[in-house]
């Protein structure tokens, strides 16, 4: 019953053999070693497993790996690395938008596509956008702050900040 599928994860082509029932999250974590996205529930509520599939935020626990055949999947691992973080990753650190970090990969991945679609959101829109990502540690406020400042940073970033600071000349509201 197993089948071999091909998909691209973070720009790397992969061939993996999975059962039809294998969830995308398990294929990513257990078969391909992308352990950035996490598993927090089975009812598709927590969002800890969020990745991008063909550019859209998707809960990887609510997709079959076989259905991701031919897709381009992006996980938190590809968003930026420790020396060269994405503006969202930087702002999460600066605004203390994470504590235990378990929800964080999903949270950041949801926020990343959201900011592409809505570069200048207000706080209520940010909260609304993160509805599918639960965080038990932060109380969300600093996450909202982080997304807000990343938006400002990304809007104002003519050239990347060299000091890693959030100082921006323009953007935001």
């Amino acid at each position: 019953m197993e089948r071999t599928i091909e998909l691209t994860v973070n720009g790397t082509d992969h061939q993996v053999t999975v059962e039809p029932r294998t969830l995308l999250i398990h294929a990513l974590r257990d078969e391909m070693g992308y352990t950035g996205p996490n598993v927090g529930c089975e009812s598709s509520v927590c969002g800890a497993c969020t990745v991008h599939v063909d550019g859209e935020a998707v809960k990887a626990c609510t997709e079959l790996a076989v259905r991701a055949e031919g897709s381009e999947v992006t996980t938190i691992e590809a968003l930026g690395d420790e020396d060269d973080m994405h503006p969202l990753q930087e702002s999460f650190q600066e605004e203390h938008g994470l504590q235990c970090g378990y929800c964080t990969p999903g949270m950041v991945m949801t926020a990343a596509v959201f900011l592409e679609e809505e570069p200048d959101p207000d706080r209520a829109e940010i909260r609304e956008a993160l509805e599918g990502n639960l965080c038990r540690c932060t109380g969300y406020q600093n996450i909202v702050n982080a997304v807000e400042s990343a938006a400002a940073e990304m809007a104002g970033a003519v050239e990347p900040a060299t000091d890693g600071g959030t100082a921006v000349e323009e953007g935001g509201d």
Partner: protein
Amino acid sequence: MYPDQFEFHRADSVSEAVELLADNPDAELIAGGHSLLPTMKSGLASPDALVDISDLDGLSGVERNGEVTHLGAMTTYATVADDDDLWEDATVVAEAASQVGDRQVRNRGTVGGNIAHADPASDLPAAMLAANATVHVHGPDGERSVEIDDFFQGMYATAAGEEGVVTGIDVPEEGENTASAYVKKPAPASGYALVGVAARLTFDGDEVTDARIAANGVMDHGTRLPAAEDAIEGESVDADAVAVAGDAAGDSLDEYMVMEDQQASQEFRLQLLSAYTERALETVGERAGHM
């Protein structure tokens, strides 16, 4: 978290999907998977086979045919909610789609799956009822169209039947003198509708000449609210008329059949129904410039 084994078929055509379903009574169609997979992961469903229709050409997308907008069954909520024209032409449908679940759910769940699954707490049934949509079904006996008023038959039961594939939905354009809205009281945990009310009103001047009002979450399937419709028809949308219609909202329903669960009693559901019917009518009134 771990679904049971099943066979996986990727259908190459709708007819093939229909055949596969007819051949295997324990097979299920999988569209967006956002109702099916959660139940499979938690062990509540264990189909022998899944028939995937996500790759079929022509099943997804929004298309305008004159005064009707055709939504392919596999169109995601996100696509519907991002369609500016639809917000103009059938506000209630776009608005309901924009309130389904969360962003990730909206990127995957489909309009066809939503109405075919017919979860009583889903958002699209009432919106489609208010919009007076037509559903296209491809079944073992061929293709047919079903008026939306005949489509929802019970909890998880529709006129498409076990073996029918919903291929698309036609949503008529609202026209100049018509406005609509969907308002929802989400359950705090699941985000599904405790109560959701969809309303579409047609006006002649200030007066409502035609009303289609429907609710989710209250009965075992999306349901029209004829008593509320009657109450508002012939009236202008002012505070008094809205209050009367809100009060009437539950009148046409069989009280014993009103849903009751740990989230809300029958009595409170009916209360929410009144309050949200009022909110829906007020919103339509504002949109039409009458409030």
